[in-house]
């Protein structure tokens, strides 16, 4: 075989041209399972999106590597004696990417925009909170009732530039149901450490380092190229071949392989999301069961029996391959100081059988279970394990595993809580216990209130709810924590839920990259260093 000289010359020319590109710019390539769908920071409240946009936009506060609240666009804040006025002192000399100065008007504008119709972040700022401009860099927030966790979610309430939004006809949030394309969904103008260079939804987003950032950069990157790669195998292959530097997540079954490869390793740690099982405790007869005329889950003995029949250690070692932390509470230990005072009741199959017999089901019963199969780490496998464990106690579980699109349509309020027994995961958006006590453990009896809206099985205890209301307005931290502990104890005693575990985070990181992992699964590359 002969190769013509012209062909050789052409090849050489192409190779030379390739190597003549400006080198030495540090580019970090990052692939995630999910997409960056909208650049408007008020459209989708979802961890991955919030983390992406956190490179570009900033809030008045931010959270550190340990999730502690830190000052960001607000340098500091003071709370008045009565707890009704919060005064925020804004950082001076901060500029948006388009050069506009950041000031109090931008905060007031963002506060109105985030609470407007169509925002998915309305709960970030109380509707009746009044924002008053004291001067260009001071803001008073006046509340109707004390709220000790007012700014707990402000790290992802990103501040927009008023002038920019007005100039581009983007003063209202891009609703999730937008029927016309919005400028803010495709363009971004924040104050953060990175600027968006180009954004092709679903294909590629390029971030460029913002050299004029107000804070000292911890990263050494010039550019971040983000690509969504949905297929697990391809994502792992791209990491192993060195084409991307960071991937999230690494599927459990590939962790070994990544760790044994020469150029990457898995960064893992406990995540804040709690995976749990819930039971319908409200209907007089279960929708999916052979027990007619009564609801066995109304009997705490049955719920205790279910709890004790599940061997959490086996789920941890077999299903989760060690990458899970069994949980006694409905909240991750990182988020509540007294978590360590709670201990998970031991696996006790004989005890479970006895409890069932005492409750009047010596031969067990049948119940249908709903389970997502593409939402949480190994969700369907966990459910299958639960099914076989309950079978040993005489309970026949008919598992219905389904994609999240169908699953959530069935079990949530829109589907009329159409389930008897289900698996769900929950991270309190506020990183505070109140969210769990209110949304997951609160009674669902008042249709006007949002309390218990995600309490699919309607576990209900009035005493628990009274405590929850007090917790909301209690500003003394020690007292508040004590009350939270009491409230959680009530649910534990009632066997209202069966918490399973906190799943583990698994990020694939090239050996060339140093990266800090935050427990809320936010991949924050402004903490990344690349060789």
């Amino acid at each position: 075989m002969t190769i013509r000289p012209t062909f050789l010359a052409a090849t050489a020319a192409i190779l030379l041209a390739g190597s003549a590109l400006p080198a030495m710019a540090v580019t970090l390539r990052y692939a995630n399972q999910g997409d960056l769908k909208s650049l408007d920071p008020y459209t989708v409240n979802e961890t991955t999106t919030n983390a992406h946009l956190g490179h570009v936009y900033e809030g008045l506060t931010r959270r550190g590597k340990d999730l502690a609240i830190q000052p960001s666009l607000a340098e500091r804040w003071e709370i008045s004696e009565d707890g009704l006025t919060w005064r925020f002192f804004l950082r001076k000399g901060v500029k948006f990417h388009n050069g506009n100065a950041f000031n109090a008007d931008d905060v007031i504008f963002s506060a109105n925009r985030v609470r407007a119709q169509g925002s998915n972040f309305q709960t970030r700022v109380p509707t009746n909170a009044e924002f008053v401009k004291v001067d260009d860099h001071t803001i008073d927030v006046k509340l109707k009732s004390p709220n000790p966790i007012l700014n707990s979610q402000w790290d992802t309430w990103y501040i927009l530039d008023k002038e920019w939004a007005e100039a581009n006809n983007a003063t209202g949030p891009t609703p999730a149901s937008a029927t016309t394309p919005s400028y803010a969904a495709l363009n971004a103008n924040g104050t953060g450490p990175f600027k968006i260079e180009s954004h092709q939804p679903g294909v590629k987003t390029v971030f460029k380092s913002n050299k004029e950032w107000w804070d000292k950069a911890e990263h050494n990157l010039d550019e971040i190229v983000f690509t969504p790669i949905g297929s697990d195998a391809t994502r792992v292959a791209a990491l192993l071949s060195g084409e991307v530097d960071v991937i999230e997540p690494v599927p459990l079954q590939d962790i070994q392989r990544v760790n044994s490869s020469a150029n990457a390793k898995v960064l893992s740690g406990p995540e804040l999301r709690t995976i749990f099982l819930g039971m319908d405790q409200t209907r007089d007869e279960l929708l999916f069961s052979n027990v007619k005329g009564k609801n066995p889950f109304k009997d705490p003995k049955v719920r205790e029996a279910f709890f004790k029949a599940i061997d959490i250690e086996t789920i941890k070692s077999r299903v989760m391959r060690g990458l899970a932390t069994p949980s006694a509470l409905m909240i991750a230990p990182e988020l509540f100081t007294f978590s360590k005072d709670f201990e998970r009741p031991k696996y006790d199959l004989e005890g479970a059988k006895k409890l069932l017999a005492d409750a009047g089901y010596p031969n067990g019963f049948e119940v249908g279970m709903d389970c997502p199969n593409d939402r949480y780490v190994n969700d369907e496998a966990i459910c299958q394990a639960v099914v076989s464990m309950l079978a040993r106690a005489g309970i026949k579980v008919n598992l219905m595993a389904q994609p999240k699109a169908q699953y959530f349509g069935k079990v949530l309020k829109a589907g009329n809580y159409n389930t008897s027994f289900y698996l769900l995961g929950w991270t309190p958006g506020t990183f505070d216990s109140h969210n769990v006590l209110h949304d997951i453990e609160g009674c669902r009896d008042n249709p006007q209130s949002s309390r218990g809206e995600s309490n699919l099985g309607n576990y209900c205890n009035k005493k628990h709810d009274e405590l929850t209301d007090k917790i909301l307005v209690e500003t003394d931290k020690a007292k508040r924590d004590q009350m939270i502990k009491e409230a959680f104890q009530i649910t534990v005693n009632d066997y209202g839920y069966i918490p399973l575990h906190q799943q583990a985070l698994a990020w694939g990181v090239s050996n060339k990259v140093k990266l800090s992992q935050r427990a809320d699964n936010s991949v924050l590359l402004y903490w990344a260093k690349k060789e």
């Binding site: 769908k37 969904a185 969504p228 949905g230 297929s231 192993l240 309020k413 949002s450």
Partner: protein, 326 residues
């Protein structure tokens, strides 16, 4: 000829309508789009608001008629996920899919015909046996497996080719092409092979069988008797006569290649229409799903029509039967 074309065009509209109706009837089983749009802790009242503004609270037939009325005016709606017009998204993704499909088709036709001719002529040679084995692999292994095997061999182990994406692209007007850059061309190799392998196998087998058939016919014997060179007989006479079925296959399969690019695009994270569709299914993005299904149906119908017309060009016998319907 004109009447034939008009009749086919009317049939095409019927097919598109049927696809639309079936698609809309099935969307209810894809799940609730609202859950994909908002986060888990979104209050129910806000969810209802979203549902109403998307018109999802209307009965399915109403939604279908509304969709039809809008799409006739060229408005395919706005994607739930990306908040961009679906027509823009599809136009942006189409070059990627078409380049991939064309490269896969060229690859499969060239190699399929060459391998087919060779194994038709030298039935017992060693190379023929190799080709037969390759074709068996191509026909029996699922596409995604071939793709992943290629990735692990050429991207992870050898590091020669990129494992995902399109490489660098150049914008020519609204068309983004990967054919003009080195990384773009390298990125095309594995997806094209993955996508074209099945079709190559098919073409190879057809050419081989046709070749063997044709070589036994009288006019080939006659050509030999006339003392023509073997080369002229094989390529001038025999191969030409095997091409009618090959054109049919290549043509008809081109629609399938575009449609089945879904899998290849998912494996290689190829930013084409197929990937867009898969993401849309996962997120119950009805406007994209509907537009994509209609588009694929349209492509199929158009290709069928083109192939029918091409037939008459290649094979004069068909021309007369169309002119004089019995």
């Amino acid at each position: 000829m004109l009447a034939f074309t008009i009749r086919r065009a009317l049939q095409a509209i019927g097919v598109l309508l049927a696809v639309g109706i079936i698609a809309f009837a099935m969307f209810r089983f894809a799940g609730d789009p609202v859950n994909q749009i908002v986060s888990l802790d979104t209050p129910a009242a806000e969810r209802e608001q979203v549902r109403r503004s998307l018109g999802l609270d209307d009965p399915v037939p109403v939604q279908f008629v509304r969709y039809l009325a809008q799409s006739i005016q060229g408005d395919f709606g706005v994607s739930y996920q990306f908040r961009q017009p679906v027509s823009d998204l599809l136009a942006e993704r189409m070059p990627a899919t078409l380049e991939l499909a064309i490269c896969a088709t060229i690859f499969s036709t060239v190699f399929g015909v060459l391998m087919g001719v060779y194994s038709g002529l030298r039935r017992d040679s060693f190379l023929t046996k190799v080709f037969q084995t390759v074709s068996l692999v191509g026909i029996s292994l699922p596409t995604f497996l071939i793709g992943i095997l290629l990735i692990y061999l050429f991207a992870v182990t050898l590091g020669w080719l990129p494992s995902y994406g399109r490489g660098d692209t150049v914008q020519i007007g609204w068309w983004s092409t990967g054919l003009l850059t080195v990384s773009g061309l390298k990125a095309l190799i594995m997806p094209s092979i993955t996508l074209g392998l099945f079709q190559m196998t098919l073409i190879m087998r057809i050419v081989r069988a046709e070749m063997m058939e044709v070589l036994r016919t009288d006019y080939i014997k006659f050509a030999r008797a006339r003392g023509l060179t073997t080369r002229a007989i094989h390529f001038g006479h025999a191969l030409k006569n095997t091409l009618v079925p090959v054109i049919t296959i290549v043509g008809l399969q081109f629609g399938s290649v575009i449609a089945f690019a879904i899998i290849t695009e998912t494996v290689f994270q190829w930013p084409g229409m197929g990937l867009l569709f898969v993401q849309a299914v996962q997120n119950v993005d009805i406007p994209i799903m509907a537009a994509y299904l209609m588009l694929v149906a349209l492509i199929f119908v158009a290709i069928n029509l083109a192939v029918d017309i091409l037939y008459t060009v290649v094979d004069p016998r068909l021309r007369t039967t169309i002119r004089q319907p019995t």
